[in-house]
């Protein structure tokens, strides 16, 4: 099947026609025609390279009641993604070549996005012994991103070893920065005015910043590549800015929710706002937006974290951490960055596709929109809106913090290797069972 996208603004710039043939961008130009191609009227729409998520929890294997690789892939496609990095904290943990291959195969079978497994840094995420990073790197999915996400690799020696060990195959250690002595498992509210008033265990900014500071020094010492997951504080942005200026090979991501939501929402004690790291005050949000705008923060990554309602229907402190993000990321970025004049659509492409693909060493994604490149593409209506309701969610879980909000911009179509997974804002093949 061939497709002719008519009159799309490439990266928000000049309007062009784009002909997709056999999974590849065949031609770009004005007033293209092609017999037999399905024509997609893209007047007023923005064409971006397919989005790449560096941080996705797909819950399979282990918690298929909350999400599967298929349903998570569908949510990703609807959100404009063509590739996701599936985090390792499944049950069992993705800490061997066999397990990452299983995730990879299930992703292929779903066929909606490239599902790139993230390998665990340590066996069982226990933070004690290195997992078989080399075997995972040499497995079919060619794992390049390793993370104990959900837990911090807090042992300095283990972190050092991991950073060094992945150098031969271009791997990167993606750190969940949380000093477990400064912010233990009960910590759930940014330490400050709200934690004190609400009586919720504090999660101080310094618990994140001190680990990032240590890790950038380790990355410098070992000459290795470090990626910092879900940066949430102004101080973290400063540390990363300093490290980059020093030439340290560090990259960082921010979640959509940390770009929009603030700690005051916790006054409701509604665990839909319980996430790790926690929502921060508006000054941090402003610093994160500025850091993303100036490139200190390389990428937007969703930290999409589905949870069953019965894991959220508890008191705040007892409920599970995490919120959905794949279907709402474009809208949140449009509101907080594009709408605020901090990024144009080319900048969105850079932070949500180009740089995440580079960090993940992911071929065929985040590429320029030129002839000969794989047709992983996303069409966005910048003037559209997206009303977030329970019915609009295709994840198996419903824990979106945006329910009831109307977000700007909408994903109109997603092309995955030349095949549309989403057209007119709907899944071409429906919601997976």
């Amino acid at each position: 099947m061939n497709f002719l996208i008519k009159g799309a603004a490439l990266l928000g710039g000049a309007e062009q026609d784009v002909l997709i043939h056999n999974g590849t961008i065949a031609e770009i130009g004005a007033s293209l025609t092609s017999a037999g191609a399905e024509v997609i009227d893209a007047a007023g729409l923005v064409l971006l390279p397919g989005l790449v998520d560096l941080h996705t929890h797909l819950r399979e294997p282990g918690r298929e009641d909350t999400e599967t690789i298929a349903t998570g892939s569908a949510a990703a496609a609807l959100g404009g993604y063509t590739a996701v990095h599936a985090m390792a904290n499944t049950n069992p943990v993705a800490d061997t070549a066999e397990l990452v291959e299983q995730v990879f195969r299930l992703g292929e079978r779903a066929g909606l996005v490239d599902v790139r497994p993230v390998g665990a840094v340590s066996k069982h995420l226990a933070g004690e012994e290195l997992a078989e990073l080399g075997s995972m790197a040499r497995s079919a999915p060619a794992v390049r991103v390793f993370s104990d996400d959900g837990r911090c690799v807090h042992d300095s020696q283990l972190m050092r070893r991991a950073l060094e060990y992945v150098k031969p195959f271009g791997g990167v250690i993606a750190q969940h920065a949380q000093d477990p002595r400064l912010a233990d498992g009960t910590a759930c509210c940014h330490e400050g005015e709200f934690s004190g008033r609400l009586g919720l265990p504090g999660w101080p900014a310094v618990a994140e910043e001190s680990i990032i500071a240590r890790d950038v020094m380790l990355a410098e010492h070992t000459g290795s590549r470090l990626h910092v997951c879900h940066v949430s504080t102004a101080g973290s942005v400063e540390v990363i800015r300093w490290a980059k200026a020093r030439g340290i090979d560090v990259t960082a991501e921010v979640t959509p929710h940390h770009l929009l939501l603030t700690v005051d929402l916790l006054a409701s004690y509604d665990p839909v706002f319980k996430v790790n790291p926690p929502l921060r005050p508006s000054a941090d949000v402003a610093a994160l937006r500025a850091g993303l705008a100036d490139g200190t923060i390389d990428a937007v990554a969703t930290d999409h974290a589905p949870h069953a309602s019965h894991d959220k229907d508890h008191a705040f402190g007892d409920a599970a951490f995490g919120m959905l993000g794949l279907q709402t990321a474009v809208g949140v970025v449009a509101q907080t960055m594009v709408g605020a004049g901090l990024l144009d659509w080319a900048g969105v492409a850079d932070r949500m596709s180009v740089r995440p693909a580079l960090i993940g060493r992911l071929d065929g994604h985040g590429r320029p929109i030129v002839a000969g490149e794989p047709a992983n593409l996303t069409l966005i209506d910048p003037a559209g809106t997206h009303e977030v309701t329970a019915d609009s969610i295709v994840s198996r879980s419903r824990n979106t913090p945006y329910a009831g909000r109307t977000l700007p911009a909408s994903v109109v179509a997603t092309f995955f290797r030349g095949t549309p997974t989403v057209l007119s804002g709907k899944l071409v093949n429906g919601v997976p069972a």
Partner: protein, 326 residues
Amino acid sequence: MKNLLSAADLTRDEALEILDTAARMHNIQTREVKKLPPLRGRTIVNLFFEDSTRTRSSFEIAGKWLSADVINVSAKGSSVSKGESLRDTVLTVAAMGVDALVVRHHASGAVQRIAQWVDCGVVNAGDGTHEHPTQALLDAYTLRGRLGSLDGRHVVIVGDITHSRVARSNVLLLTTLGARVTLVAPPTLMPSGVGTWPCETSWDLDETLSGKSFGDVDAVMMLRVQRERMGGGQSGEARGAGQSNFVPTEREYAVLYGLSPRRLALLGEDVPVLHPGPMNRGLEISSAAADSIEHSVVLDQVQAGVAVRMAVLYRLLAGASEEVAV
């Protein structure tokens, strides 16, 4: 008033009404037959997710003296570990036909959340380290009994403010009633952002009691300090890394922040000493202070607790407008 979740829910007039109702309720405690009819046929469930002896008994007696049927449900052990959601636990109890739930929970905000799920009235009997509004009401009642009006009065609250729901509710209620509050604690036991609270704070108990920095003291409230906050803690692993080493030793805490006989002697003779109990004698409060006939109002607080809880239950279930016949 459908619920009482936070001391902040109460306006000055509402709080004074509850205290006035409590005063009338208080009279029956000295009667031979301690029973009033207004809540006959109503069912109150004390739903306690955390152990409590005094608060649960106090609510139970309060409900029974108002002729309500009172059932105690102990739901200790987090529902998370049992595989049942809090929502399911609460809806199950509420479905039995309950008019009011009196809830204690180990997690802050749990009672506020429960109130969103049920149609019956809900009273917060202590949620985590957040609030304990009926404790604040009974403290205010006790203080009124000793001081008269609280307007302009200076109340000093000493101890583990960070983890105290009693302190939070008292700061809110006492300031609503016109009092000034000074919180005294070492920096490690002072809550984040306490500078935004409507009170003064001090790290120095002697200076505060001297009246030099914050004015003459009209009442002192000593808070219970958990022993596991001292040093490495007794079971640091089980309680999590963040629960220990707030203070080096019990001895040092007692020296710096305990209401010792020497400090008791510094107080004016009519200054009441409060403690929500249970007391750690020799730690935050000396026996001289706890047993002082001139100063200690600890047992008055317990008595007031029943009267205040009767007033709250009455207001919740019989309505604010009806005049109680005593």
